[in-house]
Symmetry: C2
Subunit: 479 residues, 2 copies
């Protein structure tokens, strides 16, 4: 072994040491810079809390969501395809423009155009006790009766099984589905889901056995004189027959009358029909992100309503809290890093064509939606927040749990979703919903009672405030 | 050492061993029996859950609390000392008797008898814009004006400090306390507490500087034409002067008018006065405990109301949910081990004489109250449960947290209390309150708007159901 060898070995050893040192130093630098970067990006919770406080104070002192609700409901009911829905589109474009959102635009949606026509007529005719009027309304999508009406005997059922048992007796009759919402279910939407199936598919189930029409007990807990409409669908296998809702008061009476006189007959006249499809619009407004404008936090509701009322809860409330959330962020002087977008979807009630048109729109190609929050549970005081995306997202949102709790958000859970954001969720976008207390919701839902006075300005504003805080957090922090 | 000695030592040793064995055996038996006893007494949660389910189903399907509310409010307003309050006493005795409670009785309470007399008159008189009517109502306990009224210039203030600054200008004037409830405070009761101090002691604070009368902005978030009354008290150091509430709409207008014409004068005529005290009653009904009848779980509200409305929320709701809670337990076939008692206190609004009379009643000597639950926050959907007694009690109640949560009880916290149970709590009784969402409460509170239609049958019933489950749990488990 000569000196060179020794030297070269030494050099090798030194080189190895140096390399190791360099590697260590490098990884130290990486970890340090990573740490510094994460420090720079970490949410300053105290600062965020102050911003949330500004949003809350602005919202509660002004209660602008309710002002917007009055503007939107001023057009009257907004049935998909109707002139009123078209006016609502223009009104909301103007409102969001006047509020100074960064961008406001419309995107086309082709929608069905069903019309009720003249008010329906419903009569009970009995040999025993004469003639009595009943409060009915056509279900959305139903065909009308022949112009001289339908008159037939009645079969009352309270399950599809019972209908099937009685199938021999159905031919030529009007089937009366008298199924109350189950009051013992705490969560009204769960009870609604069960009872609404008779409204949705009762007509075809009855037509299958030869029924001439169906009457569906209105889906509400209350016993009153207001029929509640809603969507029905036909199974193409069976003949289309007229379908109407009957008020709960009259459903109770009709059931008693039928016990008294099983031979009584009902006369129905309904003028509803499908017209040609119409080109309508989704309405979109946004605060464009300063750093990642292509990443979108969406919050929205649906602009259409049923035709019996201005749909104050369903879903003017969802539209105006989305608008108000953006206004609160803007007026608080906050500039979101990512884009916060309010989408007022057209045509939730007749099948969600607006939600589908939204995802198909060309502009979506260059965008990445992180979260889509749909508000369509009424404008009541919010009690919880539901969000998809699993534990990771849940934990992220829980960063601001202590800011949301004092505002009445008792829980943050996995959930969220809705008809309008369904197509986005199918593409992997994380759904969310602010959940209000809904014990009163079905009193108003799809009936003439869903008017602005049924919405409380302060309860509604809490929705906008909490949405503003949540979407601003997501716009800053991403997911 | 002889054999005997040895033997006696042996006997001693054996005896010692035997003694030890006996002691060990005895303590084993004690611990075993203790274990067996505790097993026997341990709450069977599955069984309890089934009982709670029965209570819930019965309550939600019948909504009897609202029926009782209609009965109680049918007498009209129930001002302490009034004939209507006396009728309410008899009506509630009959209701609880008809419901088959084990014992129903009255206990005497001497109450003040303040009367409003003829409707008040309030006019604004301006040289600039003429005469305008304002909506006012006397505050409870106020003296009237002289029979020909009071007319004076007006000084508007929004703090007691401001009043003090302006003290040189107050002599001979009407002081107008124009202090809105702070909308930015999330919890309405907290905002109420701050704003109500002007109603409570504004008159004497103004009289101190020579004011002739005070007008207090009504304590509500809403801007409307309904004045809200409430108790005021006089500081005996200063002259008594008339005190009235002015509607929020008129408070806003008056403030504008004063800017326009600082010289405007107000004319007030109020006919209210104190009559002789009256003997009235607390009304009590109970399900007597089967094992420890002397141990009492109390739940109640106050039977009196202000005179401007039938006090549907304040506090007919508190009375009827207490009654309904007992009915639900009874009708579910449950026999509580300890006594569950509904107490409808007379005279919460005029100072809580009913609550004080209750603790002084002779029958209390033989009783031991474990918990007293007061419901006086309106008949809205319950969101949480507040209870005193510290961690131990909190943990005990949390045994049934998972039964209460699905019914909407988002939290169980330290708290509870109220005017009526105050004297019990002073004696060491643990207070409790079921806390409803109260965002709408002050819309109605102490005004003509507090009518049955402002209460929702299902929301109210949830209170009764949860109270029934909680008081039944306490009656079975003790504290």
């Amino acid at each position: 072994m000569n000196i060179c060898q020794t030297n070269s070995k030494l050099v090798l050893r030194l080189s190895k040491k140096l390399l190791l040192l360099l590697i260590l130093q490098f990884s130290f630098l990486i970890s340090i810079s990573g740490y510094l970067l994460s420090q720079e990006n970490a949410l300053d919770l105290t600062d965020f809390k102050n911003r949330a406080e500004t949003i809350k104070n602005l919202g509660l002192s002004q209660e602008k969501a309710y002002e917007f609700l009055k503007i939107l409901t001023s057009v009257g009911s907004r049935l998909t395809g109707s002139p009123e829905a078209a006016r609502a589109v223009e009104l909301m474009v103007r409102l969001m423009s006047d509020l100074g959102f960064d961008q406001v635009w419309k995107e086309p949606v082709q929608v069905n155009h069903w019309v009720r026509g003249k008010a329906e007529k419903g009569l009970v005719k009995s040999q025993k006790f004469g003639q009595r009027r009943i409060n009915i309304c056509a279900l959305g999508n139903s065909i009308g009766t022949p112009s001289n009406g339908i008159e037939a005997g009645v079969v009352e059922v309270n399950t599809f099984d019972r209908l099937s048992e009685l199938k021999e007796t159905i031919e030529g009759k009007i089937v009366f589905f008298n199924v109350p919402m189950d009051r013992t279910i705490v969560e009204p939407f769960a009870a609604y889901g069960r009872a609404a199936q008779f409204r949705l598919r009762g007509a075809s189930e009855a037509a299958r056995y030869g029924a001439r029409a169906v009457l569906i007990r209105s889906v509400t807990y209350r016993i009153d004189d207001y029929p509640h409409t809603g969507l029905m669908v036909y199974d193409e296998q069976y003949p289309k027959i007229p379908a109407a809702a009957i008020s709960t008061s009259d459903a109770e009476r009709l059931s008693r009358w039928l016990k008294d006189d099983p031979e009584l007959r009902i006369f129905l006249k309904m003028h509803c029909q499908q017209l040609e499809p119409v080109i309508s619009s989704n309405v979109i407004g946004q605060l464009t992100g300063t750093e990642k404008p292509e990443e979108i936090i969406l919050v929205g509701g649906h602009l259409d309503s049923w035709d019996l009322s201005p749909g104050a809860h369903d879903d003017a409330s969802g539209c105006v809290v989305a608008i108000e959330a953006l206004r609160l962020i803007k007026e608080s002087g906050l500039r979101p890093k990512r884009t916060i977008r309010a989408v007022l979807f057209m045509d939730e009630e007749f099948g969600g064509t607006g939600g589908r048109a939204y995802v198909r729109a060309e502009a979506r190609q260059k965008e990445k939606h992180l979260v889509a929050i749909e508000q369509d549970h009424g404008g009541f005081v919010p009690i919880g927040l539901a969000i998809g995306g699993g534990e990771r997202v849940l934990n992220k949102i829980k960063t601001i749990e202590n800011i949301l709790k004092p505002l009445g958000i008792n829980w943050i859970r996995t959930g969220g979703g809705g008809v309008d954001i369904g197509p986005l969720v199918e593409q992997g976008v994380i759904p969310g919903s602010l959940i209000p207390d809904s014990q009163r919701y079905f009193d108003y839902h799809h009936s003439a009672l869903d008017v602005p006075s049924a919405v409380h300005p302060r309860e509604l504003e809490f929705q906008a405030i909490i949405l503003a805080i949540v979407v601003y957090f997501l716009a800053q922090e991403g997911l």
